[in-house]
Amino acid sequence: MRYIEPHAHMVSRTTDDYLEMATAGCVVVCEPAFWAGFDRNSVEGFYDYFRQLTDQEPKRAARYGIQHYSWICLNPKESEDLQLAEDVLAIIPEFLARPGVLGVGEIGLNKNSRNEIEVLERHVDLAAEHNQLILVHTPHLEDKLKGTRLILDLLKNDKRIQPERVIIDHVEEHTVKMVLDRGFWAGMTLYPESKCTAARAIDIMDLFGTDRIWMNSACDWGHSVPLAVPRTALEMKKRGYNRDTIDKMIYRNPIQFLSQCPKFEIPVD
C-alpha cells in the first residue's frame, strides 16, 4: 500500500508516529498551520512556528523517507484578536514563497464570529493575490453546518477563487453534498469520536463517489490516530472496494489536488 497523509499536525507527534506511518506506506505528509492548544501571544510566536513547519519538520520527516509539505496561516481559533491577525498576515507572504509550502491553510471558521469571518476574508484575499491553493477548516460539531454555509458563500462571492483549487476539510454527511455540488474538493477527517469514523467515511464514498474527495487523520495533540488513513483503506477492502479505487482515494486523489501547486513533487516509486 502507498498513501499520502494530506492533513497531519506532525509537530505534535513523535518520531515513532513517523516510523509507523512510513512502515504503513506513507510517502507524503502535508501539515497545515493550526492552533497549538493555547493562544500565542505575539507575531514572533507564529514566526517561529512557521519556521518549524517549513525548516525543521521536513528534515524530521525525511529521516523516514517521507516528503513533508506545509500550509501557512493564522488559524480561526486565534482570529478574535484583529491586531494580532493583522501582524501575522503580514509575515505570511515570506513563508508562502518557501519550498514545500502548498498554500494558505487551514483557514476557516471556528465559532462563526464576525472577527473570524473578517480574518478569513483577509486570508482568501491573500491566497488570491498570491495565486495559492486553499485548505479550509470547517467548524466543529454543532457549529459545522452553519460555518460551512458561511464559508462556501464567502468563497463563492469572491470571483477570483477557483473551487477546484480549494479543499473544504472535515466534511460530514450533512455538509459533504453542498461542498461537492459547488465544485470544491472535500476532505474527510477520520477521528475516533468527533468527526468521521472509517465506516462513515466509506458510507460517504458509497453515496457520493470518489471524485474530488480525500481522507486524512488530522492527527495532532489530541485524541487522534496517525494511521487512520491506511486503516480506513483496509476497511475499504473489507467493504469490497478494489485496489485501484483504494489507491485513488489514498494516493492519486491527493496528488491530483496537490499537483495544482507547482512546488508539489509526485513521489518516485
Binding site: W35, G37, K77, E80, N110, K111, N112, S113, R114, N115, E116, I117, P139, H140, L141, E142, D143, K144, L145, K146, R149, L150, E172, E173, H174, Y191, E193, S194, A199, R200, D203, A218, D220, G222, S224, K238, R239, G240
Partner: protein, 104 residues
C-alpha cells in the same frame, strides 16, 4: 455489499454502541443534580433512529446543529460541545464547562 454482508461486518459494533448509549442514559439518570440541554439533544437524536426512514445520520447531525445563519458578534471561548443549545437566548441552562468540550 449485500445486506447480509453489512450485518456480518458491522452488527457487533452497532450492538456494542447501542448498549453503550443505553448504559449512558441509565448512568445519567442515576446521577443526582440538574441536567443540561445536551441530554435532551441526545434524546431528540435517538428519535431519528426509529422506523425505516433513510438518511438517519444526516437527520441526527442536523438535529445537533446550530440552524441559524447569521455570524455571532464575538466568539466566547473556542470549544464546541456537540449539541446546539436552542434555548441559549433564553439563558435557561448554563453551558457545560470548557473541559468537556472539543476544540479540534
Amino acid at each position: 455489499m449485500t445486506r447480509q454482508q453489512v450485518l456480518d461486518l458491522y452488527f457487533m459494533e452497532a450492538r456494542s454502541k447501542v448498549l453503550d448509549l443505553a448504559a449512558f442514559l441509565d448512568r445519567v439518570e442515576r446521577a443526582e443534580g440538574k441536567e443540561d440541554f445536551r441530554l435532551g439533544a441526545i434524546r431528540d437524536a435517538v428519535a431519528h433512529l426509529q422506523g425505516r426512514q433513510s438518511r438517519r445520520i444526516e437527520k441526527v447531525l442536523l438535529s445537533l446543529s446550530d440552524p441559524s445563519k447569521e455570524p455571532i458578534e464575538r466568539a466566547i471561548g473556542k470549544a464546541a460541545c456537540g449539541a446546539w443549545d436552542g434555548s441559549i437566548l433564553k439563558k435557561r441552562t448554563p453551558a457545560p464547562k470548557p473541559s468537556k468540550r472539543s476544540t479540534r
